[in-house]
């Protein structure tokens, strides 16, 4: 069975969520892999949301907001840009390819662009393959079995 990436999309209410809506009402077909979380502004996107998405099993995270200068809240997208830059560094340090986190600007009128972004990102993540978080959960049985193997 081919690998279907699971992608969390954080979309800003005013541009990208509306852009996604437009793609939908225009009957544009795009990859169903992005599951969206609506936020009022990309400025709300905490690096914790991104890390938690990977923790919870996402293979990629897509953050979409208004183009620079178009932000409904003046410059929330600039703050998002800075936070995504630092989050990519954290991901890299944690051994997760920073390409798995993508920040894109999609305006309310860019339904076609949303379609393109989702498709290309899904393909990119498909190429990168799934994330298998190593030794995240603590499984007592495994540990005890290993200890027994090491024991006398």
């Amino acid at each position: 069975m081919s690998f279907e990436p699971r992608i969390v999309g954080f979309l800003c209410n005013w541009c990208s969520y509306t852009g996604a809506d437009l793609a939908g009402t225009a009957r544009m077909k795009y990859a169903p892999n992005v599951m969206t979380v609506r936020v009022m502004c990309t400025g709300r996107v905490d690096p914790g949301f991104v890390l938690d998405s990977f923790r919870a099993g996402a293979d990629g995270v897509l953050v979409c907001g208004c183009h620079f200068g178009d932000c409904h809240y003046v410059e929330g997208n600039h703050k998002c840009m800075r936070r995504i830059a630092i989050t990519k560094r954290i991901l890299k340090g944690m051994g997760i390819q920073p390409e798995r986190l993508r920040l894109e600007w999609v305006s309310a009128s860019e339904g076609a662009r949303f379609q393109e972004v989702v498709n290309s990102f899904t393909e990119e993540i498909r190429g990168l393959g799934p994330i298998r978080l190593k030794e995240w959960a603590f499984v007592p049985e495994q540990v005890e079995a290993a200890a027994a193997a090491h024991g006398e």
Binding site: D46, P47, G48, V50, L51, D52, F54, R55, F68, E75, H78, K79, M81, R82, R83, A85, I86, T87, R89, I90, G93, M94, G95, I96, I131, L133, K134, E135, W136, F138, P140, V143, A146, A147, H150, G151, E152
Partner: protein, 323 residues
Amino acid sequence: MAKPKLAIYWAASCGGCDIAILDIEGKILEVADFFDLVFWPCAMDFKYDDVRKMQDKEITLTLFNGAIRSDENYEIAKLLREKSVVLCAFGSCASEGCIPGLANFTDKQTIMDYVYKTSPSLEPGNDVVPQTNVKVPEGTLHIPNLWNTVRTLPQVVDVDYIIPGCPPQSNQIAAVIDAVVDILKNGKPLPPKGTVLGASDKCCCDECKRQRNVKKIKKFIRPFEIVTDPEICLMEQGMVCLGPATRSGCGAKCVAAGVPCRGCYGLPSNIRDQGASMASALASVIDSIDEAEVERILDTVADPLGTFYRFSLPSSMLRRVQQ
């Protein structure tokens, strides 16, 4: 009435927590007077078997310091959980992983290779690597297996309370002991399970005396690079100070001395990942809207991962590096 029993254990830790307990000075006599010290390997000679022979829940209070990174740590953690009424994660290692937890940035093999094969301080030619089981004429020697991933105490056993800090400050330990004595003597109700003791809900800035203003940062610097202004917030001066994302309780001693907070008191109760919160806040106050310049400014943060997750990596969202 029999004295309540107290156990103090160290798993993967440096021993600083034990010293911090001794640092309560005269009060240690009260402790010895009030409690029956049944187990404190760092200070007195006890055997694990003594503990194994105890009844379940025989120990009233166990202060457990140190992270869990070997079969032995885990076994004793389980044992003390069984035998204790109240198990307290004592100090940063037990509660969030702390410095031993930085091992999660690498793996066991790399660490073993460095320590026993490539470290420049090794005796040349000696590349003996310890084995878990070694046969000697007298029988088989057994050394507990080291784990690839460092765990915190709450990740492996059920923990009742947390006392944060690297180490917990002596005045806070004394206050906790007073509270415990008060509860045991006067039958006061226990705080709800999971409560963080010996610290407050606010963050380190609450105790910091420095004057804080609006922050706008063009370049991050390290403490040795400038002579710090003693009055002004260190972050405003360009240092990465984890104070805003760190629970208060320590008395902000480091920042008072001109050293930025490194975050040993762990995350405040409202956040989920100390490093991510700090990173987000830091990115927020970078004074640029140009992507290339932001990258340049971020380049000036020395060892961002080690800085943001110095104490909390094993308890962070991702817990360890992925390969």
